[in-house]
Structures are given as C-alpha cells and as structure tokens.
C-alpha cells in the first residue's frame, strides 16, 4: 500500500502542513540581495570593455542569477522530481538548439560584404572605425 502512494503524499502529510509557519523568508532576502549584487557586477564588467571575455562573463553571471531565481524563488529546490525533470528537459533542448546553430554559424566561411552596406559582416571592429564613423556619439 505504501508503495502505491506518490512521494508527494509522504512529503506533505497533514502533520507537515503545520510546519509551514516555520517557513523562513531569509533565503528570499539573501537571493534578492545576491541578485542586486550580480546585477551591479554585470553592469560594472559590462561597461569595462573586456573584449572577448565580456560575453562569456555576462552570460555566466546571468546563469548564476537565473539558477538562484529558479531554485529559491521558483521553489525548484523543494519541488518534486517531475517538475525538475520538466525544467531540465526544456534547458537541454534550449542548449541543443543554441549549441548546434551557433557552432554552425561560427564555423562558416566569412561572407563578402556587399558594396555600400552600412555595416559589414566583420567579426571584430577595425581599430578606430567607430570613432571615425560615429562622431555623433560623443
């Protein structure tokens, strides 16, 4: 009989429900402060012009932030296996789509820039080009 019960039946037996009053708000506060800190970190590092490292760093910070939101704010940490599986499956398919598409695009031959195009297909900007072309920025 006990084996036929869902795990959730055991997790939230009627006795457990009274313990909701002991539920702590501290993790939410900690995560909120951490999210603000990481936002500040993203802003500071994002305006430092770190070159090739800027994007991986920004995305890594974003991954840490979203992990905190998912685990604590969205209660994934205390969720049952089925909900975790759904979320992880979505992430796996996101990774599959992104990885193969970006890998394809990143390893293609460089296309030629059409004459007169306002922006080229070059991967990195030539030295001093933007300052020349966009004097209105300053």
């Amino acid at each position: 009989m006990a084996e036929s019960a869902l795990p959730s039946d055991k997790l939230h037996s009627p006795d457990d429900r009274h313990e909701e009053h002991g539920h702590s708000a501290v993790p939410y506060l900690v995560v909120w402060i951490a999210l603000l800190f990481f936002t500040a970190l993203t802003y500071v590092t994002g305006t430092m012009h770190l070159g090739g490292w800027a994007l991986p760093l920004a995305l890594s910070i974003a991954c840490i932030k979203s992990a905190m939101v998912a685990l604590i704010f969205m209660h994934l940490k205390e969720s049952s296996g089925a909900t975790r599986l759904v979320f992880v499956t979505a992430l796996v398919f996101l990774a599959l789509l992104m990885f193969f598409t970006v890998a394809d695009v990143a390893t293609r031959f460089k296309p030629a820039t059409p004459a007169g195009a306002p922006f080229g297909t070059e991967r990195s900007q030539p030295e001093g080009l933007l300052e020349h072309e966009m004097p209105a920025e300053e």
């Binding site: 959730s8 909120w32 704010f73 049952s80 759904v86 979505a90 996101l94 306002p118 922006f119």
Partner: protein, 197 residues
C-alpha cells in the same frame, strides 16, 4: 478526502483528484510544462539573436549604444525586486499573513507598471530618433508577458483579499509566482545581451 478539504474555501479540491496534495502536484507540474514551452519559445528568439549577432557584430554594437543603459539597469532592478515581492507574498500566504501577502502582490503589480513605464520612456526615445523599424514595432515578447503577468497578479490579489490562500492552500498563488519569475529569468539574459554589448 472530504475532511481534508474541510475548512477550505469551496471549490478548491476538484472532484477528480483523490487528495489536495496530488492536485497541488498536478497543478505545479502543469505550470512548469507551460513555462517550459515558453522557455522553448524564447530559445528560438535567443538563437535568432545569436545568429544575427555573430553575422553583424558591428551593427549590434552600434545599435546597443542607442539604448539607455541607466534605464535598462533600472528595469533589471525593478524586475528582480518584483520577483522578490512575489516570492515574499507566497511566503506570507504560506505562513498565514494574508494582509502582508496582499501588500506584496500589490507592490509587484506596481513594479510591473514601473517596468512598462520605463519601457515606454525608452521606446518614445527610439520613436523620436526614428530608430524603430515600423509603426507597430511595440509588440515585444517580454512586454506581452508583463501585461499578461499583471492580469494574473491582479486576479491573485483579488483572491488573496478574499482570503482564499493560507498555509493550507496557496498553490494558486504559487502558480502565479512561477509565471512571473520566468519574465524575470528572461530579462536576466536580455539585460546584458541588449544593453551591455
């Protein structure tokens, strides 16, 4: 099962569920499935972004300079804080403080309005600069999600004020929270990708 639902507001336990716990689990699983399809929708958009950014790096860098980083950062803080207030409203409902839960929900709705307000300021700037590709280029995915989220939050606020959520039952509130947090999740990635190139 009927004694379990006893004392709860009427109509919470649907007749086809054997217990409230099973219903709660099913509801959460359903919401996560819905949010996962949303993640996959955004996966397509982010992949499109990645491909174009790879091909037109200069254009992306230049266009990003027309965005107001201060407003973008402010919006990030607003959304993060709104996620925090939703989490707190669920916490308060769970610990039987319905009034605090309602206040937190109301704050969240205000933050959502703030987000849309800041977006409106940004877009009116773009409109003045003629930087938008078309007249109706306002139907950005995130904003649709925010408006939908605000409707959900308002409805939850109404239900909270009616006293429907407590330590015995707060799954409805939890589902609204799940909806709202995903907006935040998406924005966490959009912020560095759009504003900080």
């Amino acid at each position: 099962m009927s004694d379990e639902a006893a004392g709860l507001p009427e109509g919470i336990l649907a007749h086809h569920f054997s217990s409230l716990d099973r219903q709660n689990e099913a509801m959460k699983l359903g919401m996560w499935l819905f949010r996962s399809t949303d993640i996959l929708l955004f996966a397509g958009l982010f992949t499109g972004y990645a491909v174009y950014r790879f091909q037109f790096q200069l254009a992306f860098t230049e266009c990003s300079r027309h965005l107001n980083i201060t407003l973008g950062t402010l919006n990030t803080v607003v959304l993060i804080t709104s996620s925090f207030t939703v989490a707190m409203s669920i916490h308060f409902a769970r610990t039987d403080h319905p009034r605090a839960a309602a206040i937190c929900l109301a704050l969240t709705i205000l933050f959502a309005l703030g987000f849309l307000g800041i977006k409106a300021v940004e877009y009116s700037e773009h409109f003045r600069e003629h930087a938008l590709p078309g007249k109706y280029y306002a139907s950005e995915e995130v904003k649709v999600a925010v408006v939908a989220g605000m409707s959900v939050l308002s409805w939850l606020l109404w239900r909270t004020l009616q006293g429907r959520y407590s330590s015995r039952y707060y799954t409805g509130l939890e589902l609204g929270g799940l909806y709202w947090h995903l907006v935040d999740l998406v924005w966490i990635f959009l912020y560095p990708l759009l504003y900080l190139i």
